[in-house]
Amino acid sequence: MTLTEDEMTQAAPDATKEIGKDRRRKEDQRLITGRTRWTDNITLPGMLHLAMVRSPFAHATITNIDKSAAEASPNVVRVITGADVAEEQGGLPNAWPITPDQVTPNHPPIAVDRVVFAGEIVAVIVARTPAEARDAAELVDIDYDELPAALDLKEAAEDKVLAHPDLGTNKSAFWKFDSAEAGTGGNVDEAIAKARGDGIVIEREYRQQRLIPAFMEPRSTVVDPTGEQITMWSATQIPHILKFLLAAVTGVSESKIRVIAPDVGGGFGGKLQTTPEEFITFLVARKLGKPVKYTETRSESLMAAHHGRDQWQKLTLAAEKDGTVTGFKVELLADLGSHVSLVGGGVPVLGAFMFNSIYKFPAYQFSVQTVLTNKTWTDAYRGAGRPEATYAIERIMDELAAEVGVDPLVIREQNWITHEEFPFTSVAGLEYDSGNYEAATARAKELFGYDELRAEQKRRRESGDQVQLGIGVSTFTEMCGLAPSRVLGSLDYGAGGWEHASVRMLPTGKVEVLTGTSAHGQGHETAFSQIVADRLGVAFEDVEVLHGDTMVSHKGLDTYGSRSLVVGGEAIVKAADKVIEKAKPIAAHLLEASVDDIEFEAGRFSVKGTDQGLAMAEIALATFAAHNLPDGVEPSLDSDATFDPVNFNYPHGTHLCAMEVDTETGQVKMRKYAACDDIGNIINPLIVSGQVHGGLVQGIAQALWEEAVHDDAGTLVTGSFVDYLLPTSADTISFDLDHTTSPSTTNTLGTKGVGEAGTIASTPAVVNAVVDAVRHLGVNDVRMPCTPERVWKAINDARGGAQAETVGAAAPHFDESTGMDGTVDRTTGGTDS
């Protein structure tokens, strides 16, 4: 992969500072060699194992369960059905009811009398070995009466078939934002009506297909009830939230529960959940008084761990004839699946403030209807709400450009916020603190070779080349660093968005940092060590970052929404600063100077104007010994801090993608991908590259490869990696990446989140490129994933069904000479294949 440095925009890193260094991740030695503990590696004396019996039906009544054969199977300790524990099992929590009248079905961990998706747990085997548990699971004899299943999102929204007949409707909640009502902009319907008279109205309907997070480590949970505390190990992103919710649901005192997320192998939002499997393991362990483990299979993970995305997006964009946007109206249908899970209903709401993106729209309206269906429940997946928004706006801005007949970058520049206008309050009511879209775009164009590729595209069109070239643009922004607690409160989210940290000075001068964030692949131990090393002037190697255990880092809100650095990192900075403040009077006392004369720099406390001083390690030892401290000073430097941001932060960037489309087969191939992201100041460029590369591929995969498909009976067809297509390195190309730097003003490090940026940005860039390659043939949309067959059909449909043997020469859809005076036709609908 290529990583170029832009000397114009990024100062050379200070060699004496850790921040800015390409530190290799200190956690990788143990992760790569496997010399660590994953949840499934944990073995406890007398431990029992679970296997789940899952429903093969999407919707059915359970009429009888015969568990006698399973109970008689060798080494089976117990077989538990939903009816056995109906009174005690409680229900899974929904932490974000997006409206007061949200319809929220009960969510028992084990189905009691009815199953509502294929994969739901119906019975639990407890056995002495995992193999015996699995054998017995085959022997549970269950009678079902199949019920009609609500599977199609649009049909479900019309209540044709009910996912939960007892609720009387599939409509869970309707949530709306209107800029005229909020006072942040004008009336969108008026803008659209006006544009229908004398401007342009673009109407499109886009599909966000259902995706599966497909983290590397399947979920696993171990519960040990044999002590004063009940300890749960779980492959989760959210040990602290899990602890709180275990207490809330089960009634066990929070002080009697310890949750440990040991090394966790990925999540992508898929482990931002409290799961039936966790509650069941907890219940069984308490019931039997023995340690219990459950580890899911990959098939179970694909079927029953929450899915992501799954929306229909109805979009109406109003503009003046020259392409200046006057209003944008967004109407979503969002598929919740069978239940409203932890933050499932809130995912589309996280996108509500982002459909206006980097643009100055005078009027904006967003609404979402969340809908229950008989499919696996959906929830957060990398980007959560913001990829959906970015896809919609960046796709439709390309449609507007095509309509006006100008380059897609021209239409964006015409509508975006200029760098002089920051801080800027958006039509959705957010205050964007910093950014420079012009600089990022200029750099991305340069990296991409934009003009050369446009020239090649023109040549290929003119010669009727069988392989056409398309260029896709995505100028994205997002809101991340979840989140200001007050904002979350205003959106009816069940918790705050602060983060906690502790910094402990050990007598030997080593430092322990406790963070309430919970890494599952991000490299927190390395990046946070770099921050603390600089702040306290200690060696990078001398900093140990501890996390993921509620008994060690007792307070925190965990890792998701690109929050760990911008919120958690800032908490660490504040705790480290408190350590320095606590050390100063001790240093002054030992140096026989006034506190006011003590300066701290590069790990050394010195007396102003003298060469007298003491290192942080010396102060740490003196504090530990406590033989000679000033009166009234406690013998400890350890400090805690909790940081609650006042605003989100807003990474942005310009992503450019070139795709080759074989018009004969529909096969698409990436030719070039260049991006310039602005994520503020960078702590570790190597980790940032990893996040961007992985994020890009995950977003590209939505555009080209991944889709969770259910058959007419509601069974997941893409139930293994044979059919659910994840890309590998063989399917990707080298990316050309760079950064511009507009530091965030919402944290002192000036950083912005980078965990989701690549995924949010790349999907529309790729689809825009595919469409751009064949737009001159009459195609204006290809549904994701853009499979060769869909592309081929789109081309054929546009040609009126005729399978022409060669591509006729055609003019590009815009030409520089056309400029902004191109003739405008009203356009509606799209080619949906």
Partner: protein
């Protein structure tokens, strides 16, 4: 995932393996490289009582020159076939197909005979074996017999190998000096082919003297595109001539419809891929 319990036998000779197979019959499954069988067992789609592992039978491994044919032992790993100079020289079509078979890890475990005996219509080896007119040597309690490629593939996952028999080696007639191309159409690299075409061509002075073409995943078994083969003979190795002949590529095929494409799309792909494969194999 954990398979259901089974007994495991690891014979060291073909005779021992045949005896075990005779004893357990229907209840036994043969394990070669395990790249298809193990997932099936782990997902509990099949639960044999006995698994007979051929991995310790050395006589089933290796590639040798046998006059007018090269002989590939059934338990020879794909990675060995991929890099074998005899195969490259005399059956280049097989080298080209194996090169794109699954991924490196699978090519190091999976075996040539195991894949052919599994008879997945989307497998990469059936079409080249069929096109090259391979002979399948099958050993049973009564001795060895040889089955022609045309008779070997019976149906979906079904071959001419009897319940009490084992595929021991595959004899591939030499096609020395023939051009070869395996055109595999996939969405991601490690996927089974949506459609693939195995073409090998002998060109004399710019004219196609002989052509043999196998189709992957265009029916329940690998298929020969015989109409195209005959139409090509005597034609110049040019785009137009090959295009005209390739138009018949989907004749008589019955491809599946699935997430990767409907049957009609696969038929279209077959005509395109046959043209490209033949042109490539002709050096055009």
């Amino acid at each position: 995932m954990i398979p259901a319990q089974f007994d495991y036998l690891a014979p060291t000779t073909v005779e021992e393996a045949l005896a075990a197979l005779g004893q357990h019959g229907d209840d036994a499954k043969i394990l070669a490289g395990g790249q298809s069988l193990l997932p099936v067992l782990r997902m509990r789609l099949n639960a044999p009582e006995v698994v007979i592992d051929l991995g310790r039978i050395e006589s089933l491994r290796g590639i040798r020159d046998d006059g007018d044919a090269i002989v590939i032992g059934a338990m020879t790993q794909h990675s060995v076939v991929e890099h074998d100079p005899l195969v490259a020289e005399h059956a280049a079509l097989i080298s080209k197909a194996v090169e794109h078979l699954a991924d490196h890890q699978i090519r190091h475990r999976g075996t040539f005979g195991g894949a052919l005996a599994h008879a997945d219509p989307a497998g990469d080896l059936g079409a080249p074996a069929l096109a090259l007119g391979a002979q399948f040597v099958i050993q049973g309690p009564g001795g060895s017999r040889t089955v022609a490629a045309d008779d070997f593939f019976v149906d979906l996952f079904e071959t001419a190998i009897g319940e009490d028999e084992i595929l021991t080696e595959v004899r591939v007639p030499k096609h020395t000096g023939w051009g070869a191309c395996y055109e595999k159409f996939v969405r991601v690299a490690h996927q089974w082919p949506i459609v693939a075409v195995a073409a090998t061509v002998r060109v004399e002075g710019g004219t196609i003297a002989e052509a043999k073409i196998g189709l992957t995943n265009m029916g329940s078994t690998p298929l020969r595109a015989r109409a195209v083969e005959s139409a090509l003979v005597g034609q110049p190795a040019t785009e137009d001539a090959v295009r005209a002949a390739a138009a018949q590529a989907a004749d008589g095929t019955n491809p599946p419809s699935d997430l990767n494409g409907e049957a009609a799309y696969r038929k279209h792909l077959a005509t395109v891929l046959v043209r490209r494969a033949v042109l490539n194999a002709s050096g055009a």
